[in-house]
């Protein structure tokens, strides 16, 4: 079977070698000034010897111009662990999303796939940041010596590498080509490789072999581990093999900047990777900016520090409430505050627990009329105006208009404020008796008071709930807000003790059909609408409860169908069907979406989009907007 994704070659390479566009006359490899001295001294090979023969030449797209080498970018983090967000922002993947959320090759030169067999071809002469070659040996090392090593990975290879529990056949064809073959399609593989926290299927073998018992004396390694107060060589290896956390200064990387600071520290400096594989269309090696400087600081000071002009780029840690402080300092301190919409399905969503322990509420929560009535009872316009300054979008908890899968119906179905219809539905269910205050009574005589539990740190959701409580008195439903500590909230939900939970909506509301629809189906226990069904699916029936309403079963079946096909059209059809069921059934009740993330950027910084979508997945924070192309204008 050959699909449209058969050959994902480097579409960003139109003018390498022979095919040369008009402006190619200007293309000439130019050394970054910061590295030039080392090259003249002979401590670093010249640029053409460092770059892969088939380097990735980024093509000009709207909003991106040619940059100028140099400068440092200052930013903040709360603690050293947050360096991991640099991995998301740096966004160097085997293949990654571009700004249109299409998967394109990045580290690899090309990918050949029919959905079952995946052949990755690496770039000729590609090197790690310490100059060692990046070859299929690095894939072999990860697969054979790490993922399948009982001591390093007691649980075996990562779940995504297994299809129906079966590991792939892996063929290391030559230095540049590796093939993974399953018996059935594995559509989860590519999105996982492009994720903000990617599935790592390679590792710097030359470096890590020094810490692997197969290649180095086990006794010496254990002694080394003991000196670091670690249990065994395996713990030491796992601690050093930490590509995402960026904490290990000695481990080579393929990303744009390399950590040069030994832990522990309160200031981390990352310098440009001399072997980075991306080059702009005039022949300058990316990144443009020489250094990243990350200072650790209390989260409470982020806005004040930005206001004082102490940062050049900052997104995480700022929120809507910081905007007045940020705006105030703009003029004096040479930065600007961008407001990017977040890609959440809903800023504040309600999750009626269909698997709650209370039998009365379980019956009601499972009645689709009840869920629809609750949704119709919310005046989303007022929520929008009072909490998002009217800038939000009144919507169900579904995909955003920016997504290719969006339909107007998904946004509006049962999402209008209609008290009469809501009351009619509730009467129809039989909740006709009322108490002296006008609240409806449950069949067993209790007042229909829904206890909505919420993470106590999410103050904005608590505010939204207070508004919703007002609206619901009109339909005779009482709402009691119960803020909880997050861990406790989860445990109560898993145990079926919650009746309803309020939290943010879909994490990824700008999906493409290639991304797994795992938030829409009852397959995970961390979805508050159906924790016990999720448990059942996650544990293959060992705990939890079997999903037993037809629409939920449909969602599970559709998800399985998605995971078993490599056909893009088919996947799109499945997505649409699932989105449709999700809003028709009101499994979650969305309110408004489109809350904004403030981003502070130095005014001189170029190639930063004025407005773009900000999310963890799929944009990888600011990753897909390519920090390596940001630069300081003159």
């Amino acid at each position: 079977m050959i699909t449209r994704r058969t050959l994902l070659t480097a579409s960003l390479l139109p003018f390498l070698a022979t095919a040369v566009p008009a402006y190619a006359a200007e293309f000439r490899l130019r050394e970054a000034p910061m590295l030039a001295e080392r090259v003249t001294k002979g401590t670093l090979p010249p640029l053409n010897a460092r770059l892969p023969k088939s380097m990735l030449i980024v093509s000009p797209i709207a909003g991106k111009e040619l940059g100028i080498y140099g400068g440092e970018m200052r930013t903040l983090a709360v603690r050293a662990r947050d360096l991991r967000y640099l991995s998301a922002n740096g966004y160097t993947r085997l293949l990654g999303y571009n700004e249109n959320l299409e998967l394109v090759p990045d580290l690899i030169e090309s990918l050949e796939t029919d959905g079952i067999n995946f052949t990755f071809t690496l770039r000729d002469g590609h090197r790690w940041s310490n100059g060692e070659p990046f070859t299929t040996e690095d894939f072999r090392y990860w697969w054979e010596d790490v993922a399948n090593n009982k001591e390093l990975a007691p649980a075996g290879p990562p779940d995504i590498m297994l299809v129906d529990g079966k590991a792939p056949r892996v063929a290391f064809i030559d230095e540049r080509r590796v093939r993974f073959s399953w018996e059935k399609p594995n559509p989860r593989l590519l999105p996982a490789l492009a994720a903000p926290r990617p599935l790592q299927i390679y590792a710097p073998s030359a470096y890590l072999k020094k810490f692997h018992a197969k290649y180095t004396d086990r006794k010496a390694l254990d002694a080394q581990a003991a000196r670091a107060k670690l249990r065994s060589w395996a713990t030491l290896h796992n601690r050093l093999d930490d590509p995402f956390e960026q904490g290990n200064r000695d481990m080579p990387t393929l990303g744009p900047w390399v950590n040069t600071t030994e832990q522990p520290a309160t200031r981390f400096i990352f310098e440009r990777n001399p072997y980075y594989h991306r080059v702009d269309w005039s022949g300058q090696q990316l990144p443009y900016i020489d250094k990243l400087v990350i200072d650790l600081s209390a989260a409470g000071l982020f806005a004040a520090k930005a206001n004082a002009g102490d940062v050049d780029l900052l997104s995480r840690g700022l929120s809507m409430s910081d905007v007045p402080v940020l705006k105030q300092g703009e003029k004096d301190h040479g930065y600007k505050t961008l407001l990017w919409p977040e890609a959440r399905g809903s800023a504040y969503a309600l999750y009626p627990n269909l698997t709650t322990n209370d039998p009365e509420w379980r019956t009601l929560n499972r009645d689709v009329r009840f869920r629809r009535a609750l949704s119709l009872g919310i005046d989303r316009r007022i929520v929008n105006n009072s909490l998002l300054f009217g800038l939000g979008i009144e919507s169900n908890n579904t995909v955003l208009p920016e997504s290719a899968l969006y339909q107007e119906r998904f946004r509006t179905l049962y999402a209008q404020h209609n008290v009469a219809e809501a009351n009619r539905l509730l009467d129809e269910i039989g909740l006709t008796r009322r108490d002296s205050l006008g609240y409806r009574l449950l069949p067993d005589g209790r007042t229909a008071e829904i206890i909505v539990e919420v993470d106590g740190e999410a103050a904005d959701i608590v505010d939204a709930l207070q508004l919703i409580a007002e609206f619901w008195t009109d339909i005779g439903i009482k709402l009691f807000v119960k803020p909880q500590e997050r861990t406790i909230l989860r445990q109560r939900a898993y145990a079926g003790q919650t009746i309803m939970v309020a939290a943010a909506g879909l994490d990824n509301a700008i999906p493409t059909a290639e991304m797994p629809p795992n938030e829409l189906a009852p397959i995970r226990q961390d979805h508050y609408s159906w924790p016990k069904w999720g448990q059942f699916v996650e544990t293959q029936g060992k705990s939890g409860e079997r999903p037993d309403i037809p629409e939920a079963l449909d969602l599970v079946r559709l998800y399985r169908e998605w995971a078993a096909t490599a056909n893009g059209e088919e996947q799109k059809r499945i997505w649409m069907r699932m989105l449709s069921i999700y809003v028709e059934q009101q499994f979650t009740i969305g309110t408004v979406t489109g809350q904004l993330q403030p981003i502070v950027v130095a005014r001189a910084m170029k190639n930063v989009p004025e407005r773009a979508i900000f999310s963890w997945e799929p944009t990888s924070l600011m990753g897909i907007y390519r920090l390596d192309q940001f630069f300081y204008g003159r």
């Binding site: 662990r81 990562p158 200031r267 200072d295 209390a298 004040a304 004082a308 997050r486 861990t487 995970r524």
Partner: protein, 339 residues
């Protein structure tokens, strides 16, 4: 004397044992542990894939043992997954948050913490003693009333608020960078005059903020003590014998009024390490305070446990020192209680 010391050491050991048990129980009271917290946090950020790795660590650090066993392993009264390695053996445990042994995490912060707090103590004494002397000798004068007013203001202002306000204006007016103990560019530089002066200028805010309420409290106490002593016959006698006023003040009543401060050393010592958590947090100072708070929030149990135990040890030792000092300074006080 030796018997007294021995008795004190035994009670100290028992006290510490009780404290260690309490500390451990309190840290373990909230549901879950560090790893489950971390998994939650990762999930909240949509980062579920990381959860698997965290799960793998639970067994390795013995977090799957029953609580009493975890406690005994931590104290060093039972061999854990690492063999005998507890507080008694001088092994302070492992910090999950920082991924390194506790002593490495704490050592770095400790020096700066002690620096900040010693400067604060000096500031408090230098400012408060002269003011107290002044206001006690001129009770109900205009100066006394003003000092009292400011003293109450100092006591009543929430110091984190003051910290933020000072930070903002010092940055506005003098360009001192916000937060931290030095300008970020000196963080990894070796010690130099410039670095020293940067540290000094960054010490202003924390010292003033942390010291303000302490100063106010100290003025009030000193003033009250002195007023008591000034009424006493020996002061009257000294004056009657026309001892010069300054000498009559410093030589007799002032020295008597110092007793409560010596008794206070027991509190001062632990305060050097654990004081000013809130302010340190707001000012983003690299001290022990924020580390402790974070460790408690994340249930980084060995790190939090160690810091709390360390403070407890300092308190107990401080008490002993102040008892001994008092006995040495004031002949009216006898050790041991046998009359």
């Amino acid at each position: 004397m030796i018997l007294f010391l021995l008795r004190r050491f035994v009670t100290m050991a028992l006290t510490l044992l009780a404290i260690s048990a309490l500390v451990f129980i309190v840290i373990k009271l909230p549901p879950g542990d560090y790893l489950s917290n971390q998994i939650e946090e990762l999930r909240a950020q949509g980062d579920a894939a990381a959860a698997a790795k965290a799960e793998f660590l639970r067994h390795q650090y013995g977090l799957d043992l029953p609580i009493w066993q975890q406690y005994l392993v931590w104290v060093g009264a039972m061999p854990g997954p690492n063999g005998w390695a507890g507080l008694l053996q001088g092994d302070w445990g492992w910090s999950f948050e920082y991924q390194r042994p506790v002593n490495e995490v704490v050592n770095r912060a400790l020096a700066l913490t002690i620096l900040v707090n010693i400067v604060v103590v000096i500031f408090v004494h230098i400012v408060s003693i002269p003011i107290a002397l002044y206001s006690a000798t001129r009770q109900y004068s205009l100066g006394d009333t003003l000092v009292t007013l400011f003293g109450y203001l100092g006591l009543a202002t929430p110091n984190f608020l003051l910290a933020l306000v000072l930070l903002y204006y010092l940055n506005r007016w003098f360009g001192i960078s916000i937060g931290g103990l030095m300008d970020p560019r000196f963080t990894d530089a070796s010690m130099s005059m410039e670095k020293m002066s940067s540290i000094m200028s960054h010490l202003i805010v924390p010292v003033v903020v942390i010291g303000l309420s302490g100063t106010a409290a100290m003025i009030r106490r000193m003033r009250a003590n002195l007023l008591d002593e000034l009424q006493k016959p020996y002061t009257v006698t000294a004056r009657a014998k026309s001892v010069p006023p300054m000498r009559a003040l410093i030589k007799y009543p002032f020295r008597m009024a110092l007793n409560p401060f010596v008794a206070d050393i027991g509190n001062l010592l632990p305060h050097l390490v654990s004081g000013s958590v809130l302010v340190s947090l707001v000012l983003s100072l690299p001290t022990v305070g924020p580390i402790l708070l974070q460790a408690l929030k994340m249930q980084d149990q060995f790190l939090a446990g160690f810091i709390l135990m360390f403070v407890a040890v300092l308190t107990v030792v401080g008490m002993l020192i102040s008892d001994l000092l008092l006995a040495a300074l004031d002949p009216r006080i006898r050790i041991g209680g046998q009359a």
